[in-house]
Amino acid sequence: MSGKSEKKAMALHTPMLNELETGPWPSFFSDLKEYSKKKPVVAQLLNQLEESYENKWNYWIGKVHNAPGYGGGIIARVSEKADKYPGLANFHTVRVIEPPGWVYSTEALRNLADTAERNGAGILQFHGMSGDILLLGFDDAGSLQCVEDLMHDGWDIGGSGAAMRTLQCCVGQARCEMACYDTMKATKHLTDTFIHYLHRPEFVYKFKFKLSGCGNDCSNSIVRSDMPIMGTWRGPMQVNQEKVAEFIDTKGLEYLIDNVLTRCPTRCLSVKGKTLVVDNENCVRCMHCINVMHHALAPGLDRGVTILIGGHRTLKIGDTMGSVLVPFMKLETEEDYDALVEFIERVWEFWNDNGMDHERIGEFIARIGMGTFLKGVGVEPDARMIRQPRTTSYIKFEELAPTKFEGEKKKDPPVWNREAESVETA
């Protein structure tokens, strides 16, 4: 920490924050209060926070500050109260790409703690809403040194701005029997393959991936990512009828009816004696029966992913929910991964060529229509992409329009004329 104010401890004045010391939930305030004895700048932070509590007002302003070679990853903050709290004059956050699935060795965590403490205020957050590890409280030089130290130790910094953002995924096959693909491997693969786009904002706006091993969506992908990638399977689910019988013996037939059969969204479960009958053709892989009867039921063996597109929260056109783009593709072999990478590049190219400034891909699709989008990225329409066909009767049938309205044929086919060569759909 290079701030000279460091040496002089500031007395804490936090009557309101002190009220966050009571109660059973662990208090970040008590922790930081104790830590401020070791790191005096933390006392300045808490005193400013106390003023925010008193005045219901915020004193942080953003600025731009980047590590050499990077266009994002440091979230620079300047305090409006720097005269009073000189240690907060520059008090930046460094985003660090988390290990996929948020798994850690203590060696790695200690390394992060030491790096954060050595170069800044020593405050860590596990994790930010985009999945990153957040290290708080660096001045300009401290943040640059922190980034260098992190990268010497094998870490890399996260995304910010109009870039691919840091990915996040569920624990996946490392500890979950329901994971239909290797979410950690896919997260690392996509991060590493596209790392240039994460560090150098050059898209029209941000683009997030979140990866979940099954439809339970523990990485919250469908509303929080531009491209949710969710595990699924083709063909029949696995049923262990002995365990089904055990389930009925233990829980009772009534429980099975009330909590499993009648909860199936496509009513594809029934019971004969103590045997579960599954109409696999109509199963939509919602995961409910497997969640309830996880000793007896499991996803099928021919596994892969469903790729969705366009989830994001409310700004600017209101919420968009991810919707099906590729109903099924395998994600196991090197060729599968190459196909996914190639597909993503095509989606990005069309969006970045045609999207407006600050337009998330879900907003872009809302503006141009999913039909046009599919044409643009070279994906055939599939009835599994929709809830129901259109109800609006005003349609521009390109094939049926008189020639004089078609306009001149363009010589170079735009990107949307490309074939969807390697994307496998079920």
């Binding site: 850690y104 708080l136 890399d156 490392a174 979950c176 339970n216 919602c286």
Partner: protein, 357 residues
């Protein structure tokens, strides 16, 4: 900067293989089932017969380097040096030896002071944003309000007595970084931005104009400054312009309020994922402990606990009983502001004669 050569760039995501508990590494992709031994304790069984115990506890998300070291001491003593975090900032200590379970629980609850729970049908840790601690846009705090709320909901975190899991999120502005939840808390602004015309040169005016979802901002010269004006009738107080341009201040400590939204769900289980819907508005932004928020959340939880069937999430419960009953059972008033006038306005009306009478 030191004299050392620049560190390597673009290294990508850390190699997770180095950070897997040995039993995770050994049984990767070979897990067959799991059980909950008690709230906060899971056991996963692999094809090999190996069992991996997980002790889940609520973390404060924000922690000092010294607290991180305390966490590491526990993981070194019991977990062979491995642990993980969940998407909702719970910590998970991973344990191979069941004989050590009691010792580990004692260390987490006793030494660290973090409560076990957040498993199964319980209130999990709150997804939250940065707030006054470190964000440039917040109208409220996050870490503090979450601490106060979870103090109040501690029994629902430590026990598995709800119909299904409840995910709560808390956001400090309308960008809503904490996103959807079964129950979600958001700040609400109540008037157009106040424009500092003399300081608009720090912003890119075309971007400020373009970002407005209501097309309410247009370029204007005001008092000789190149600036913008806001058409008040069109402005919906979202604050998108404030994120783009700090000279368009949207927050107001006198008039900002909080609202609570219900029925968001990302899981596909049983029913398709849903957005959250407005439940109650106009709650005061009341630091340091936001008691009105705790009271409202408790009311929703109590009605849900009493009325929902097992496995129903908050939104599914309301879908079954209808919004009229939701407002009756929680006692929140239903007002004209609950009726949507956004992009989903017409499809959110009851377009049928199906009415509970």
């Amino acid at each position: 900067m030191s004299d050392k050569p620049m560190a390597p760039r673009d290294q990508g995501a850390p190699d997770y293989n180095k950070y897997l508990h040995p039993l995770m590494a050994k049984n990767y992709g070979e897990w067959v089932s799991h059980d909950r031994l008690r709230p906060g304790v899971l056991v996963h069984t692999a094809k090999s017969g190996d069992k991996l115990y997980t002790v889940r506890a609520g973390s404060p998300r924000t922690m000092s380097a010294d607290t991180v070291r305390k966490v590491c001491d526990i993981a070194d003593k019991f977990c062979e040096g491995y642990l993980r975090f969940t998407a909702r900032s719970n910590i998970e200590f991973l344990l191979g030896d069941k004989g050590q379970l009691d010792g580990l629980i004692q260390a987490v609850e006793g030494d660290l002071g973090w409560p076990l729970g957040g498993t199964g049908p319980s209130v999990s840790n709150v997804s939250h944003t940065q707030g006054w601690l470190h964000c440039n846009l917040p109208g409220s705090d996050a870490a503090g309000s979450v601490k106060a709320l979870m103090d109040d909901l501690i029994d629902e975190f430590k026990n598995e007595t709800l119909p299904n899991r409840v995910h709560i999120s808390s956001s400090c502005c309308q960008i809503n970084c904490a996103s959807h939840g079964d129950i979600a808390i958001i700040v609400q602004h109540h008037h157009p931005p106040r424009i500092n015309h003399a300081n608009m040169q720090i912003c890119e005016l075309p971007k400020v104009v373009a970002i407005c979802p209501a097309a309410a901002i247009r370029p204007a010269v005001v008092n000789g400054y190149e600036s913008v004006e806001v058409v008040h009738e069109k402005c919906m107080y979202c604050g998108a312009c404030h994120g783009q341009c700090p000279s368009m201040e949207i927050r107001d400590s006198e008039t900002d309020t909080l609202s609570i939204w219900v029925g968001g769900k990302v899981s596909n289980a049983r029913s398709a994922p849903t957005f959250m819907k407005l439940a109650v508005w106009g709650l005061p932004n009341n630091p340091p402990r936001w008691p009105e928020i705790s009271e409202a959340v408790r009311r929703i939880l109590a009605a849900y606990k009493e009325g929902a069937k097992p496995w129903e999430r908050v939104g599914e419960w309301i879908d079954r009983i209808g919004w009229q009953r939701f407002f009756e059972k929680t006692g929140f008033p239903f007002t004209r502001y609950h009726i949507d006038d956004g992009p989903e306005a017409l499809s959110n009306l009851n377009r049928s004669a199906m009415v509970r009478l």
